[in-house]
């Protein structure tokens, strides 16, 4: 019954007691009342189902008494079991005519249940023996000492199409471009002041309706300076200012059509455009 390796005494009560002090009772390896009862029942050498609970109770009480006599402090489990067994024994011995009170099951049934429970524990103890007597790995049987590891050969096939290759290339070139993006020079614009001056300069010649793109300055042939769009936009803006000043009229027949400009003569009535 002695165990070379028993780190856990399964007693909640024991765990709270200083080691080496009172409860050193391994009680011959009994871990709890059920274990004691089972051991006692075995000494009766009868089928657990035919167990005499009264005899068992007597023996258990004697066991507990003996343990206490030897000045062992017993765990609560043992004492509760002792009183319960004493009670059960008394009920079993009392005449049966008396009706059981309340919901309490008949004493015989309680006794049978206890016997069955012991049988169950006994079965598990037998099972432990049966299992541990089997050939155990690395004690009785041994597997290959030097197994050959399986060589994993990665698949030779690659999942990549020409399209993947092309798009991988384009993506990178685009990224490269974005990386090298340089906000660069400010875009040169045809200033509003310059546009107004320019318009005042050409105004005398605008006696007839003239399209805006012919009024605006031509872009420098070298390609330097403001873009043509800038010339157009600024000239239009300046023309609207001149209209406000009453110096000229602006007309557009349809959306997206040409914009026409014309000088307004002195004293000439404002010409309403449709």
């Amino acid at each position: 019954m002695t165990e070379a390796f028993q780190p856990n005494l399964d007693f909640t009560a024991v765990e709270q007691i200083d080691a080496g002090e009172a409860f050193v009772v391994d009680l011959d390896g009994y871990e709890g009342p059920l274990h004691v009862l089972l051991a006692l029942a075995r000494t009766q050498k009868v089928d657990l189902l035919k167990l005499s609970i009264t005899r068992l109770a007597e023996q258990y009480l004697a066991f507990v008494h003996e343990a206490r006599r030897r000045n062992f402090s017993l765990a609560a489990d043992y004492l509760v079991m002792a009183s319960w067994l004493a009670y059960l024994k008394s009920r079993l011995l009392l005449p049966r005519t008396e009706k059981a009170k309340g919901d309490e099951p008949p004493a015989e049934q309680m006794a049978a249940a206890l016997a069955f429970r012991l049988q169950k524990l006994e079965a598990m103890r037998t099972a432990v023996e049966a299992i541990t007597s089997r050939p155990q790995l690395k004690r009785d049987v041994f597997t290959r000492g030097d197994p050959q590891a399986t060589l994993i050969v990665p698949s030779d096939r690659i999942d990549a199409s020409l399209y993947d290759l092309m798009s991988a290339y384009v993506t990178q070139r685009r990224r490269e471009q974005a990386r090298h993006y340089n906000p660069g020079q400010r875009i040169e614009a045809f200033g509003l002041e310059a546009a107004r001056d320019w318009l005042r300069e050409v105004l005398p010649r605008l006696s007839d309706w003239t399209p805006l793109d012919r009024v605006a300055p031509e872009r420098d042939a070298t390609g330097d300076g403001p873009t043509q769009a800038s010339y157009l936009a600024s000239t239009l803006s300046a023309s609207l200012e001149l209209v406000k000043e009453g110096a000229m009229d602006v007309r557009q027949d349809q959306p997206f059509e040409d914009v026409w400009l014309k000088r307004r003569g002195l004293g000439q009535a404002l010409e309403l455009t449709p």
Partner: protein, 218 residues
Amino acid sequence: MTLDFKPDEIEMARRVEALLFAATGPLSLVEIARRLPEGADVAAAITDLQTQYAGRGVELECVADRWRFRTAPDLGFLMTEEREEPRRLSKAALETLAIIAYHQPVTRAEIESVRGVSISRGTLDLLLEMGFVRLRGRRRTPGRPVTYATADRFLEHFGLASIHDLPGAAEMKAAGLLDLSLPTGFEVPDPSRGMDADDEDPIEDGDTPEFAQDFVGD
């Protein structure tokens, strides 16, 4: 890579033999079949090999539904150098292991009800750590207690083909000894824990993260 001709039975047995010999652990029929030409009768090859190796120094054995070669049990005494000093399990741990093995899936309260004493936390921890026992699920009862079951390593260690091969399990079952629902009036007062009136419901859900949590918080 595979050969064109359909290997005959002897060739098939050779291949299965080689695979099992080379493997680092037990192989299932499916794992073996995956390395063999389609339609290979692995089961027949295994039976064939098992017969050929019967009584020899090395034998073919089924553990946890997988196959492995191992030395004959009666020759264990020769392996003085290979033997590992087994970690000795306490009586409490062994009983707990047996209860888990025979009653799985089983809750801690149920284990305690069979043993009549509470299990110290270390006992279950040790069994889990050794890989003999695993957390299996949660009982669908109030408190959703974690249930325990044996792991493959348990079967491999004790050379069991499956949990159905546990010694004496059939007899115990026939005698009703593996039934966890207790007859009325069965309750013996037990101060170590409250009366457990768990309804049995074998359905588990596999919420693994919670196990871990529960385990830590235990």
